[in-house]
């Protein structure tokens, strides 16, 4: 049975059914008499249930009356609109239907759960997508160039000499200037260090020696002495540790593929002609890439 459910032919059949139903609905599909609106007991119950889902309580008799009136109004408007052809060439309706079709194809893609073997193969194929970033633990002492001017570097170097000789103060950070920068970071990724201290500093501290005081490093805020306690290289975690993430990435890729395959399949049913002079696409100049440190690529 399970195997049968994974059968692509079945998926295709079901999608086909979907298309027919969609077509029928689009045409105002209703099997009743054209001028008859029957609000079935089941419909009323459905309205009540929808209400209850939202309001977390059942509707009162008065509210039910309102829901039914509203449903009737909607049904009338809906049928009249279809009869008047208001659904034709409506961008909103067209887009909504397109979105539904995409949902169908995505659901078909998500239907079959991948096996661990498939996921491990995916991981082996794209290790770069699952790398744990490098980690750095360090302490820092901040010297404000605003406050100390040229003395900032001199004084930083003096403190460095003392620290390197093991003659530094017990709390080296207190010898620096007040700041909102953290005095230390533990197991921080290069991205986090860049977010906090700026990208210049992040690049420098990545090169600083481990197990000793060094510097001064220059950041946008001033000068820093740093003590790198530990540097852990970027690693690929074991599959068990990152299975949910591998699954997420696998499914995302399947979804993209499935959408394309679905559309390509449908396209084969159509002969497509583009008439008239095709407008020259606007020259691609790229996006507003950041002049000041960053932006879109």
């Amino acid at each position: 049975m399970r195997k049968f459910l994974r059968e692509p032919l079945l998926h295709f059949l079901l999608i086909g059914i979907g298309l027919f139903v969609l077509y029928d609905v689009l045409r105002g599909g209703n099997t009743g008499a054209p001028r008859e609106i029957v609000v079935t007991e089941a419909r009323v119950e459905a309205l009540a249930q929808n209400f209850a889902t939202t309001w977390m309580r059942p509707p009162t008799a008065q509210e039910i009356g309102g829901l039914i009136d509203d449903y009737i109004a909607e049904e009338i408007y809906y049928r009249e609109a279809i009869a008047m052809g208001l659904d034709q060439d409506d961008t909103v309706i067209r887009r909504r239907l397109r979105q539904k079709m995409e949902f169908i194809s995505e659901d078909a893609a998500a239907a079959a759960a991948p096996t661990d073997v498939q996921l491990q193969e995916f991981l082996a194929k794209h290790p770069e997508r699952f790398l744990e970033p490098a980690q750095l633990s360090f302490r820092q002492v901040y010297f404000s160039t605003e406050k100390r001017g040229e003395q900032a570097r001199v004084q930083a170097e003096q403190l460095l000499t003392r620290l390197q000789a093991g003659r530094g103060p017990a709390d080296p950070a207190a010898a620096g200037d007040p700041t909102l920068l953290p005095p230390d970071m533990h197991s921080a990724s290069p991205q986090l260090i860049a977010n906090t201290f700026g990208s210049d500093f992040a690049a420098q501290v990545a090169e600083a020696p481990v197990g000793q005081w060094s510097g001064p490093l220059q950041s946008g805020f001033g000068l820093h002495l740093v003590h790198v306690d530990e540097r852990v290289a970027s690693v690929l975690p074991a599959f068990d540790q990152i299975r949910p993430i591998v699954l997420r990435e696998y499914q995302a890729e399947q979804r993209t593929r499935s959408n394309k395959k679905f559309l390509d399949g449908l396209r084969t049913k159509y002969e497509i002609r583009i008439e008239g002079p095709v407008a020259r696409p606007l020259e691609q100049t790229g996006t507003s890439t950041g002049v000041q440190g960053g932006g879109a690529q």
Binding site: L14, V92, S189, Q191, A194, G290, Q292, A296
Partner: protein, 638 residues
Amino acid sequence: MSTRTFVLPLLAAAVTAALMIAATPFVFASDDVPGPPTHKIQYSPYPEKNFPNRVYFGDTHLHTSYSADAGMIGNTLGPDEAYRFAKGETVTSSSGQKARLARPLDFLVVADHAENLGLAPLLMASDPTLMATQFGKELRAFVDKGDLPGAWNHWSTTKASGKDPLAANQDVYRTAWARLTETAEKHNEPGRFTAFIGFEWTSAYERNNLHRNVIFRGGKKNADTILPFSAFDSVDAEDLWSWMAAFEQKTGDRLLAIPHNGNLSNGLMFDDVTLTSRKPLDRDYAARRARWEPLYETTQMKGDGETHPQLSPNDEFANFERWDKGQLGPAPKTPDMIPREYTREALKRGLAYEAKLGVNPWKFGLIGSSDSHTSLATTTEDNFFGKVSAVEPTADPIRFNEVIGGIGGPPEAAQYHRQASASGLAAVWARENTREALWDAMARKEVYATTGTRLVVRVFGGYDLAATDLQRSDFAEQGYRKGVPMGGDLKTAPAGKTPAFLIRAQRDADGANLDRIQVIKGWLDAAGKTHEKVYDVVWSGSRKPDAKTGKLPAVGNTVNVAEASYTNAIGAPFLECYWKDPSFDPKQRAFYYVRVLEIPTPRWTTFDAKIYGIALPKDVPASIQERAYTSPIWYTPR
């Protein structure tokens, strides 16, 4: 510049779309949702301390293709892409352009319009797991007979019978909402990135913006027990609060709601009467509003909401990214509406309400967010992807000239996309990057707004704080021990004591220097009249306030408009200050919030002009001073 005016009624189309969509959930199948990844917590400093030690930046207000006014008008990126972009991945935008954030966000709330989430029934027939059920087989029988309408009817009537034909197979019952919550769950990585579950309740009472974003503290399990409350259910926020209360009671989870764009509410956001019953605000209303709406989104794409020149004529920085022509619809603005639309005035009037009712309805903290409808949370001037996909970066005049406010109204009510603000961000002081820690910080208002940059600001207020505490390396510890952080409360001052404040601000690590720090005080006098005063408390360079006016001279401007560049030759990377209120009256209710100004930098329109070689629009400035607004600290005498 072209004088053609593009009046594509995007938002009108969106509203139409929202109205046209039926409110029945659709169904789809999916695999089990993986739990949150078991990553090692990346960063957990100062394990011996227990106070918030880091600021996290995020967007609490992002729309994806699941929102009618995004997905129906060109946005093809769903929540998955939105989270990927926020996490720093390169994403191809709906207009086909590669986009990336220079620095990833720490958290994101995908807040799609609730009105879009209840969709017409999707074609459940695509779901193979359904075929394993008795109901599925019955359905199949119709199909085999070639009776497709029959299959459809059987589906809808059986589902509507109240007896759930698929009760034993809940996997089949996933809705668009479930898809959103599932995506949030997949991208939520505690310690590394927080993906909140949320939605936008889009009340547009007579086209006036009364929208609220609702944010869940918990996860999918509780969220999936409901469908988001929509404006179809009610346009009155009081009903939203009742709904939130019912959800909390039912699930034990927590919710908060964040209103935004009072500037487009035509006087309704901070009105003196309730929305539908038109009764004067009473104590019960005030208590509920304060309970459910601890924050206000004060700056975003559709204008800055801190204050207005009409309300703050002595504040030379009040006229910032102003959107005051009307609403989203056609009704123009009149001056009488302005006092009921802006943050500072609401905070002041809140003091008066508290004196009158015993509860302050508008005791809220401040955040910024984007309200971007492109699935791309871009908030910096050099990377602005626009309000909607149709106005993503392009040399085409649509990007500047598209009407996005005052739609269908007179020309004087129109707001054009060139006036859209590349703003803002929500900054949250917390101990770790998790849903719980960030949500709790929001609930206690230990947050601030920025207009899109990541400048850092920290404030403590208290009676025992000393000037020497400012210089201490354990500054924050002293602040928490002797005072309260932003968002906090000061009770009746001990005899002879005056509130003192420790303030530190640091520029964006890769951004522009700071111009100054200001304290903005609002208070209520004995006669029940409200007042405000802006204090320059510390500034860069050796400027002296003008002897006559007391005004501090402007910091200068290094912006090269032609090159869309600036330098940090002026301003300071770090400012700090110990400040005592010089005119403190222990009997008067008051609030204090901090505004930090950066030096002028190029506006996004200036980047556009440089990159595309087009003319600068005339009605927006070439450079702006980005800023932060902290949540207030309130002084409430007993």
